[in-house]
């Protein structure tokens, strides 16, 4: 209990931030038309590729001879980069059909 209380009081702003981020995440999405479900999913997926930042930091922190960390980090970067590069690209392609208009009216 104490730990939790301390953690809470100590990280108050962080907790605010997290809760607000969650609300924001909900809010931003809550009125999406069904047609955008798949592109949105795809876009969100691309954003989750932000995990690549961790992989970069991992490699940068690693000793140049720590091949275990380096190679796993490399794998991480590759995986993350595929997610990021492919993710945004495929989302953009999905959204291509929304290019046109609104005309007239």
């Amino acid at each position: 209990m104490d730990t939790i209380v301390q953690f809470f009081n100590g990280n108050l702003l962080l907790i605010y931030l997290l809760i607000f981020t969650v609300i924001l995440g909900f809010e931003v999405i809550s009125k999406v038309p069904t047609v955008l479900h798949t592109p949105l999913m795809s876009g969100a997926n691309a954003i989750s590729g932000v995990v690549i930042v961790g992989a970069i930091l991992l490699i940068r922190q690693s000793d140049p001879t720590d091949y275990f960390s380096l190679s796993l980090g490399l794998i991480g970067i590759i995986l993350g980069m595929i997610n990021v590069a492919g993710g945004f690209t495929v989302t953009d392609r999905m959204l291509e059909m929304f290019k046109k208009k609104k005309a007239k009216s």
Binding site: P39, S62, F88
Partner: protein
């Protein structure tokens, strides 16, 4: 001097991260409206760019090693795989692709957690720290195998029946208990490398098994759920690396992914629980022809977007339009589409309906101008250049059997060759036949999608959706 530099650069990094976070939020926001979605994706991508730059220049412990070579190699390799894959994939296979990407993202988080665990081998982590790392590992791994299985199912490489069995959900529950128990044990006691690998394997298995019983038709929902899992694992990894952007970005994806999952279920008129329990496309209207072909169903919003972004639309009214008394809503839809630059025409088959001129009476009532009505001949010559045909309760008059099935009772009757258009949507209540009482191969045509329901209700839904765009 050195201190100042660090502070300055960390200010820059913090600013980059902050901008990145805002770009993510704004991107997501824009992504949720058709007009701005593309811009939103770009914003999010820019946010990602900022994040990566931030990560590359952030002052780190052991500073100076950097190993930029490794990083550059990895990024180039990843980009070389990711870009072309995304560029080449067919429109229809995109959801699978997303699933794969998502799985790789999960795998990345998983790898980070493994390294973290192995590096801290021997040292004691705090309980919180340990919880975070194991959580990252678990979630990343589940997302990884789950997504790959989802891909395989969606891509038709694995059939539902190959990977599940009766009572699968019991297995899943047991597996879940095992995984969580294992994790708590490891958190409290720490683990050997072997145990960590064991945990990894169990997690991977659980991911696979979790997705296995879920019907192929429900895969998009599952992908969305796994996507929010990946977000959470990224956020957890952010805690490991003390990186606020990973945290914020991950949480954002986690939250919006969750709500998106719920919305997707709602759009299918099902609960998330219902989907996860599985049952192979349970709610969907399954409709198969004699030779086992399956009619594809569409929902109103898909059709709406097709309508809206078409250059030319042809309505084909039939007896069902009359029964549903949908003529006025069709005209309303027509008006909205015309206002948005869509060219709308009506193809009137000579025997559509139940009396000569039936469609004329109805469409005149709705005030559809005469020049918009094409008779059989004109319609058939206009159809190949039509982007989308919307068949409103017609059946026999668009039956290709009249042309290519000599045995059919309607063989020889001229029909509207709607399949020559780019896309066909059929609005009717069920798969039941029309006046002639015969099945219609059109419904199983590649280009055709069915929108089931009373024609008036369906058109009203289309009107609402198109107005949304």
């Amino acid at each position: 001097m050195e201190v100042v530099e660090t502070i300055e650069s960390s200010f820059l990094v913090n600013l980059l991260y902050l901008l990145g976070a805002v770009a993510f939020v704004w991107g997501l926001r824009l992504l949720s409206s058709p007009d701005t979605a593309r811009k939103g994706n770009t914003y999010a991508a820019i946010g990602m760019g900022l994040a990566i730059i931030g990560a590359l220049i952030e002052p780190v412990q052991n500073g100076g090693n950097n190993n930029y070579g490794w990083i550059a190699g990895g990024m180039i390799a990843g980009a070389l795989i990711g870009f072309p894959a995304a560029k080449k994939i067919k429109m229809t296979a995109m959801p699978q692709m997303v699933s794969v990407f998502n799985g790789l993202g999960g795998a990345c988080a998983m790898v980070l957690a493994i390294v973290e665990l192995f590096q801290n081998q021997g040292t004691t982590m705090g309980l919180g720290q340990a919880a975070i790392v194991y959580f990252t590992l678990l979630i990343g791994a589940v997302s990884f195998t789950g997504s790959l299985l989802a891909f395989a199912k969606l891509d038709g490489r694995i059939k539902d029946k190959h990977v599940t069995f009766k009572g699968h959900s019991i297995l899943n529950n047991i597996l879940l208990l095992v995984v969580i128990g294992f994790m708590v044990f490891l958190m409290i006691n720490g683990g050997t490398q072997g145990m960590i690998i064991g945990f990894l394997i169990v997690s991977l298995i659980y991911g696979f098994s979790f997705v296995a019983p879920i019907g192929g038709a429900d895969m998009p929902v599952v992908i969305s759920l796994l996507n929010s899992f990946t977000g959470l694992s990224a956020a957890a990894a952010g805690l490991i690396f003390g990186n606020q952007l990973m945290l914020v970005g991950g949480i954002l994806v986690g939250a919006s992914g969750t709500i998106l999952t719920v919305l997707m279920c709602e759009a299918m008129n099902r609960s998330l629980f219902n989907v996860l329990i599985g049952g192979f496309g349970g709610g969907a209207v399954a409709a198969a022809s004699d030779d086992g072909k399956v009619a594809k169903t569409a929902n109103a919003s898909d059709v709406a977007i097709q309508l809206f972004y078409s250059q030319s639309v042809m309505f084909v009214p039939g007896y069902g339009l009359a029964v549903a008394q949908a003529q006025k809503v069709v005209k309303e839809l027509d008006d909205i589409l015309e206002a948005n630059g869509v060219d709308v025409k009506y193809a009137i088959h000579p025997v559509a309906g139940r009396m000569p001129g039936h469609m004329n009476v109805l469409l005149a009532e709705a005030d559809v101008p005469y020049p918009k009505l094409l008779d059989l001949e004109d319609a058939n010559s206009a159809l190949p250049n039509t982007d989308l045909v919307v068949i409103v309760g017609a059946n026999d008059v668009v039956n290709p059997a009249a042309l290519d099935e000599p045995g059919s009772p309607i063989y020889g009757m001229p029909v509207l060759n709607v399949w020559e258009a780019k896309n066909v949507v059929v609005l009717k209540r069920s798969m039941s036949p029309g006046y002639a009482g015969i099945q219609n191969p059109l419904f199983f045509h590649d280009k055709t999608k069915m929108l089931f329901g009373d024609a008036k209700v369906s058109i009203q839904a289309l009107v609402a959706e198109v107005k949304n765009l």
